[in-house]
C-alpha cells in the first residue's frame, strides 16, 4: 500500500514539464534543489543527531567556487564542478574536525560561527566575491552539448541529479554505516563498547553531508545564474533546518516535504504578504509546538488512524 503511494509521488515528479507553465516548472526545479539541500542536512540532524545551523556553508561555498572559476578564471563547467565539490568536501572535513569537538548546543554554535565567518568573508572581500553585489551573469553547463537554459531542460537535469542524490542518501541511511550512525546517535557509549568508533562515524557523515550540500549548491548557482552572500547566511541555514524539522527529521520523505513547503510558502507568501520572515517564524513556532516530529510522521499517524491503525 505504501509503495503505491510512493510510486505515485515519484511519478508526479515527471509531470511538471509536461503539464505546467514555465513559472511552475521553475518552481519545481527550485524544490528539487532545496530537497537535496534539506536531505543532506538531515543526514546530520535526523540520522546523526547533530543539529547544524551552518549548513548553508556548503551550498554557498560550492556555488561561489563554481561562479568564480567559470566567470573569472575561464574554467569549463565540468572542471569547475569537480574543483568546487572537492573544495567544499575538503572544507567539510576541516570544519567537521572543529565542530565535533562539541556536542549539542556547542556544536550548533560552532556551525553557526563557521558559516558566519564565511558569510562575513563573502560580504567583505569584495575584490574576490563582489561583496553585496554578488556575482551575476553566470552560465549554466551544457552536459553533452545539451543546453540547460530552458526551464524544462533544466528541470530534467535537476530531476536526474536529485533522483541520484536521493537514491544515494537513501542507501546510505539504510546501509551498515547508516545503522551505525543511528546507533551512535541513540547510544554512543553502547556503540563504542560494541566496537564502533563514534567520532569517525560522525565525521564521515559530516563530510558526506557537506558533499551533498555542495552538490545542491552547484545546482543552485546553475539555476539562478547568480550568487550572493545571503545564500551563506544564517537565514538560509535556518530555512533549511526549518524544512527538515517541519517535514520530519526521522524520515527520508520528511525533509523533501518540508523543503517544498518552505519554498512554496516563500514564493507564494511573498506575493501576498510582505513579511516572509515573520511567517517563517510563526511556522517554526507552530510546527515545533503542534507537531514536533514533523509533518510526514503526523500524516502517517493520521492515515494509520483512519485505517483503524494497528501494526
Amino acid at each position: 500500500m505504501k509503495w503505491i503511494g510512493v510510486a505515485l509521488l515519484a511519478a508526479s515528479f515527471l509531470l511538471p514539464p509536461v503539464f505546467a507553465g514555465d513559472y511552475y516548472i521553475n518552481l519545481a526545479s527550485q524544490i528539487l534543489i532545496a530537497a537535496i539541500f534539506a536531505l543532506s542536512l538531515n543526514l546530520l540532524v535526523g540520522f546523526g543527531g547533530m543539529t547544524s545551523l551552518g549548513h548553508a556553508s556548503y551550498l554557498g561555498v560550492a556555488a561561489y567556487i563554481s561562479a568564480l572559476l567559470t566567470s573569472r578564471y575561464g574554467f569549463g563547467h565540468g572542471m569547475a564542478a569537480i574543483v568546487s565539490i572537492a573544495g567544499t568536501t575538503t572544507m567539510a572535513a576541516f570544519f567537521g574536525v572543529i565542530a565535533l569537538r562539541a556536542t549539542g548546543l556547542g556544536f550548533l554554535m560552532i556551525t553557526l560561527a563557521l558559516s558566519q565567518v564565511l558569510w562575513g568573508l563573502a560580504y567583505r572581500m569584495s575584490n574576490l566575491t563582489n561583496g553585496d553585489n554578488g556575482i551575476a551573469g553566470l552560465t549554466r553547463p551544457a552536459p553533452f552539448g545539451i543546453s540547460l537554459d530552458s526551464p524544462a531542460s533544466f528541470y530534467w537535469f535537476a530531476l536526474i541529479v536529485a533522483s541520484f542524490a536521493f537514491l544515494m542518501m537513501a542507501t546510505f541511511v539504510s546501509s551498515a554505516f547508516g545503522s551505525s550512525l543511528k546507533g551512535v546517535r541513540d547510544q554512543p557509549r553502547r556503540m563504542a563498547a560494541l566496537g564502533f568508533n563514534p567520532w569517525l562515524v560522525r565525521w564521515i557523515t559530516f563530510i558526506y553531508a557537506g558533499f551533498w550540500g555542495g552538490v545542491s549548491g552547484l545546482l543552485y548557482v546553475y539555476y539562478n545564474k547568480y550568487i550572493h552572500p545571503t545564500s551563506l547566511s544564517t537565514t538560509s541555514s535556518a530555512e533549511a533546518l526549518l524544512g527538515v524539522i517541519a517535514g520530519g527529521s526521522a524520515t527520508l520523505g520528511g525533509p523533501v516535504v518540508g523543503a517544498a513547503l518552505v519554498l512554496l510558502l516563500k514564493n507564494y507568501a511573498s506575493a501576498y504578504i510582505e513579511r516572509w520572515n515573520m511567517l517563517l517564524g510563526l511556522v517554526f513556532l507552530f510546527i515545533v509546538l503542534v507537531m514536533p516530529t514533523g509533518i510526514v510522521p503526523a500524516l502517517s499517524r493520521l492515515t494509520m488512524g483512519l485505517r483503524g491503525g494497528s501494526r
Binding site: 550548533l108 553557526l112 558566519q116
Partner: protein, 288 residues
C-alpha cells in the same frame, strides 16, 4: 594617538552595551539551559521603541525611556516564555528553534512598524557636551554607558549574591532538580529570569540607540556578539559576562577599524577556540 584613544573609548562603551545585553542571555542560559536566540531581537525592539519615544517627545529622559522599554520588552518576553517555552521543556532543540522563530517574528514586526531606513537616536541633551580629561575630549554619553554597565553589574551582583531571589537563581543554575526538590518554584523562577533578561536587553537597546541607531539587522549584528561573550566568559557567570564583554568590545572595535575585511574571523575565532578547547569559558562552571 587620537585614533587609539577614540577606539579605546568606543571599545569600552561597546563592551558596556554588550554586558547589558549578554548578562541577560547568560542568566537565561545558565538557569533555563535555553540559548535564547531572540535576545538580539529584544535588544533591537528596545532600540526602536527608544528611538520613537525620544524623537517624538523632546526632552524625554532617557533613563525613564529605558525603564519603560525594558518593562515592555520584559512583558513580551514573559508572554513568550509562558505560552511557548514552558511547553517545550522536554525538547531543548525545539526551544532553540522557537527562539529563532520568535526572533524572525520580532525583527519583521520592527521592519513592518518602522520601515527599512536607519533611525538615528538623539543623544540626551544634558549629555551632549563633551567631557575634557587630561587634554583629551571624550563624548560624554559613551562614558556614561560604561558607567551604566558598571552600575548594572553591581546591581546584578547584589541581586544574585545578596537576595533570596538571587540565591534561588544560583541554586537553579547549579542543580535544577535539587532546587526543585527543596521547594524552589523553578518554573516561576524561569519566567522571572526570562523577563529580567529580556527587560535588561530592551533597556540596553534604548541606551545603545544614540550610538548604534535603530536599523533592520541590528538584532543579527548584536546576537552573535552576545553569544561570543557568553561562551568566552563562561555560561552562568556574571563576572565572565563582564570581562568577556569588554574583551569582545575591544576585539570587535579594533578589528573592524584595522581589518574590516577580516572582522568576522577575528570575532568568531575566539569563540570557536573556546568551544573547542575550553568549553567552560574563562569563568564558567558549565559548558555549552
Amino acid at each position: 594617538m587620537q585614533f587609539w584613544i577614540i577606539q579605546g573609548l568606543n571599545s569600552l562603551s561597546l563592551g558596556g552595551l554588550l554586558f547589558l545585553l549578554s548578562s541577560g542571555f547568560s542568566l537565561i542560559f545558565g538557569l533555563m539551559r535555553v540559548a535564547n536566540l531572540t535576545h538580539g531581537a529584544f535588544f533591537m525592539l528596545g532600540t526602536y521603541l527608544g528611538a520613537t519615544a525620544l524623537r517624538s517627545w523632546d526632552g524625554l529622559n532617557i533613563w525613564v525611556t529605558a525603564l519603560g522599554a525594558g518593562i515592555a520588552v520584559a512583558a513580551i518576553g514573559g508572554l513568550f516564555e509562558r505560552l511557548v517555552l514552558t511547553r517545550l521543556k522536554t525538547n531543548p532543540l525545539g526551544q532553540v528553534l522557537v527562539t529563532l522563530g520568535m526572533s524572525f517574528i520580532i525583527s519583521d514586526a520592527c521592519l513592518m512598524l518602522w520601515g527599512g531606513d536607519s533611525i538615528p537616536v538623539p543623544t540626551p541633551q544634558n549629555l551632549q557636551s563633551p567631557t575634557r580629561v587630561l587634554g583629551f575630549v571624550f563624548p560624554t554619553y559613551r562614558l556614561v554607558l560604561v558607567g551604566c554597565a558598571i552600575g548594572a553589574a553591581i546591581v546584578l551582583y547584589f541581586l544574585l549574591e545578596r537576595t533570596r531571589l538571587g540565591a534561588m537563581i544560583r541554586a537553579g543554575v547549579d542543580d535544577r532538580q535539587m532546587a526543585r526538590a527543596v521547594g524552589i518554584p523553578v518554573s516561576n523562577l524561569f519566567t522571572v529570569v526570562f523577563c529580567l533578561g529580556a527587560g535588561i536587553a530592551g533597556a540596553a537597546g534604548v541606551l545603545g540607540g544614540p550610538i548604534l541607531s535603530a536599523y533592520p539587522g541590528l538584532d543579527a549584528d548584536m546576537l552573535p556578539l552576545a553569544l561570543i561573550v557568553v561562551i568566552l566568559g563562561g555560561i552562568g557567570s556574571l563576572l565572565g559576562a563582564f570581562v568577556g564583554s569588554f574583551i569582545i568590545g575591544f576585539i570587535y572595535t579594533f578589528g573592524t577599524a584595522l581589518f574590516p575585511e577580516l572582522a568576522y574571523i577575528i570575532l568568531f575565532l575566539p569563540m570557536i577556540f573556546v568551544i573547542a578547547f575550553r568549553p567552560q569559558g574563562l569563568f564558567g562552571r558549565l559548558s555549552a
